[in-house]
Symmetry: C2
Subunit: 465 residues, 2 copies
């Protein structure tokens, strides 16, 4: 009994000391980030000197060069570019749309082509509209009601969900597969209500797919603003015969070469255990991609800088990976995982920031029970920074391809209320990112990386062969 | 033993049912707020049709009339105006300031008079500057270094604190008492670095006091923007002899009559137990007072509307109180408490929202241990709405005068990172309030009111006489 008590006391002392060292390290990371964080300046450059960085564009190439140069200046052990072929889709001249209540009586509607859409014929598309609340409505309507018309997908985001990402998931199929499905019933075009909770005048682009549809059968698809969608829907109720016109001359080119940008600090003790933090360097072209995902890019770069700045020497190899082409192809994420596999690299942890530069609230984890239990034991360490949300679920699109049973995948979860106001739209711009919120996110990521590096990832019990 | 188990089962069933009813009621409140909240439209009117509502101004009077009219339309049991005399301070023509590196070589600096300051002489004040990091520096410098000069208080907000309100507390004495103290050493004017964490070009006003200083000895005081303060400080290091000029013609008038606006739903079971929710109707004059405290006003009105909308009949009397003159006098808060006392009204709970319309994170409580314990037992109910922060500490300035040992005072605690970017400045405007964040705050307040109404406030044990 006495021995047990002694062990208990010794253990407690050890735990208390360990705790204190962790508390100190987190404090030092947060202080460094809040007092002399560099992420906001990097983001300023990416957003205001480079701008929107669609895959295959000159801006995307400039972003590769700029972030490579900045990583070079951090004194990491290695910085390199990983080549990857990416799709090149170009919007062309600004899109234009109106509806016509009677010949010559037109009302303009803010519109933008969806990424990957085909162009309209040069003179545009003009047709009657059939409004639906989702793809599932098409079957009931049938070809007789759809053929020759423009299908208008108008299911709004569900406002009662607290995570706006859940509302997004409930709507985005209209944007992604709406044209493929409507084309099967003879639609001549597709317009989609922007996936945005707010009523405003910004159309929000985003990726779409024609699936296996032959090129000749692809119908042009575009997003209209939420205010535009409301107006159109109301007008249709009064007069179902109105016509909608839109014109876009976007174009898909051949794939071009681009790069993931990678930097690493070699681990002192377990150099072969690799932990990565990342965001995606490409963005849509309408705004400057500050929240999606300039924020994630600079926060990921900042993680390595903060670890160095606070004098922390990681036991494991820590990499920042700035992925190319998350938005319309995920080629960078796939390439990174493919190369990692071919080199038999052992990735134990991957954290992505791709949900905006807003006040961080926590993380979501895609990992084993044992690792999630470990994460929960760290909750107290994060409480002083108001980080409280440790949930299971998705991580990030770019790190997803690394998934296997040994790795911990994680995603930073910032406050989500404002995210879709800006997502993929003209107003995803630098002035909507708050410096402190961005810095708190970077510190939160660096703290989690520190903890996983310090305590390691729990491996699943080996199955006896 | 069997009986005990039976009781335990019955009790569990009861607890589970009770829990479920609470969960349902909260869900119904949040849904009502997110789907058809009215607060954002009210705020739009207050901000864009009325604007900044400084005590004693026409705008403040319009705000009284507008909110009274809106409360009248909600079908409450009673709506009334409570007269209160308020100070009337008027800014006059826009202030103007520059520093002069050599005669004729001037650089303009964004400036605004502090609320309550005296005017400069008509031709302005021009003098050398002595920069200090706080009131405590004055003593060491002494009259010989201060007399005839303008004292420049330049202690910035501490960036490493996670709650920006704590950083604010660490700086605001310079603004509030800086002129009173500097005047004692013969200063001819005072300029204060705006109490804002961000570097920008907005001067932030706010209240100040001359204490017991006779009118003849009062020196004019103003705030300059954070960028202005940085520039001035840097320039002073290069050239300590530069002169600073500023001119303002603000004026204090005699007190005028204004009103607290009050509405109530009579309690069904304990009508004499009064619970209040409130915010302050007055604001500073530079912006439109959307965050400070238009948000708190409309959220408080919304609490009563949401309870009615969800069909909840409160057992206790629930009042919304829109206080006048929080910013430069607290006359409304004091008057309300004075009247409550004189009428021997039994106030058991008071909740204020005066920290901006940002995503709600929790509440702070000024209450007994027993009541705080009760609040903590409700934490689980709030988790689905990401409300996680239940702390002890301040509540709100307006409800403070109600404090006694029986009452629970509470303050809504929204995310604080952006608050001081807008506080008391020209950019405290409607477009910086997000509709969903505002609605979530109102629902969070209504949920707490519902819980305290349902379970009551714990009274302290009676001391035997």
């Amino acid at each position: 009994m006495k021995n047990n008590i002694l062990i208990l006391i010794l253990f407690s002392v050890f735990v208390i000391n360990a705790q204190t060292a962790d508390e100190k390290q987190l404090k030092s990371i947060y202080n460094a980030s809040l007092v002399k964080g560099q992420g906001y300046d990097w983001l300023n450059y990416l957003s205001n000197q480079i701008g929107g960085r669609l895959s295959g564009s000159i801006q995307a190439q400039k972003a590769v060069e700029y972030t490579k140069k900045e990583l070079d200046s951090l004194g990491l052990d290695r910085v390199w570019l990983q080549p990857v072929m990416v799709p090149k889709w170009v919007r062309g001249t600004p899109e234009f749309a109106y509806f016509e209540t009677s010949p010559g009586e037109t009302t303009n509607i803010p519109i933008c082509a969806l990424g990957g859409s085909v162009a309209t014929p040069q003179k545009g598309v003009k047709a009657n509209i059939i409004e639906v609340k989702g793809i599932e409505d098409l079957k009931a309507l049938g070809r007789k009601n759809i053929e020759g018309k423009i299908v208008f997908y108008n299911r709004p985001m569900e406002p009662t969900l607290i995570s706006t990402f859940h509302s997004y998931s409930g709507c985005v199929d209209q944007r992604y597969s709406g044209a493929e499905e409507a084309g099967k019933y003879g639609a001549v075009g597709v317009i989609v209500r922007s996936v945005n909770l707010r009523l405003d005048d910004f159309p929000h682009t985003g990726s779409m797919s024609y699936g296996e549809t032959p090129v000749a059968n692809r119908v042009p698809a575009a997003a209209i603003s939420t205010n535009g969608a409301e107006l159109l829907s109301t007008t249709l109720k009064l007069n179902p015969d109105i016509k909608f016109y839109f014109k876009q001359n976007c174009k898909q080119y051949k794939d071009v070469e681009s790069f993931n940008v990678i930097g690493e600090i070699k681990g002192t003790t377990y150099p072969n255990e690799i932990m990565i933090v990342g965001g995606h360097l490409d963005s849509w072209d309408l705004g400057d991609g500050s929240h999606d995902d300039g924020a994630g890019v600079v926060q990921s770069m900042e993680v390595l800088r903060l670890l160095k700045e606070t004098g922390y020497k990681p036991k494991r190899t820590i990499r920042v990976v700035l992925f190319m082409n998350e938005e319309n192809g995920l080629r960078g994420g796939n390439k990174y995982a493919e190369v990692a596999k071919s080199k038999k690299e052992n990735h134990v942890f991957a954290l992505e920031s791709d949900a905006g530069g807003f006040t961080p609230r926590g993380f979501s984890f895609d990992c084993s029970d044992a690792n999630f239990k470990q994460v929960e034991s760290w909750k107290k360490l994060f409480e002083p920074y108001l980080i409280h949300m440790f949930v299971r679920g998705g991580s990030g699109a770019d790190v997803g391809p690394l998934k296997n049973e040994n790795i911990v995948l994680a995603g930073l979860r910032p406050d989500s209320q404002r995210y879709f106001d800006h997502h993929h739209a003209e107003n995803d711009t630098f002035e909507h990112v708050n410096k402190r919120e961005l810095q708190l996110g970077a510190a939160t990521m660096a703290s989690l990386v520190y903890l996983f590096d310090t305590y390691g990832v729990k491996l699943p019990p080996k199955i006896k062969g």
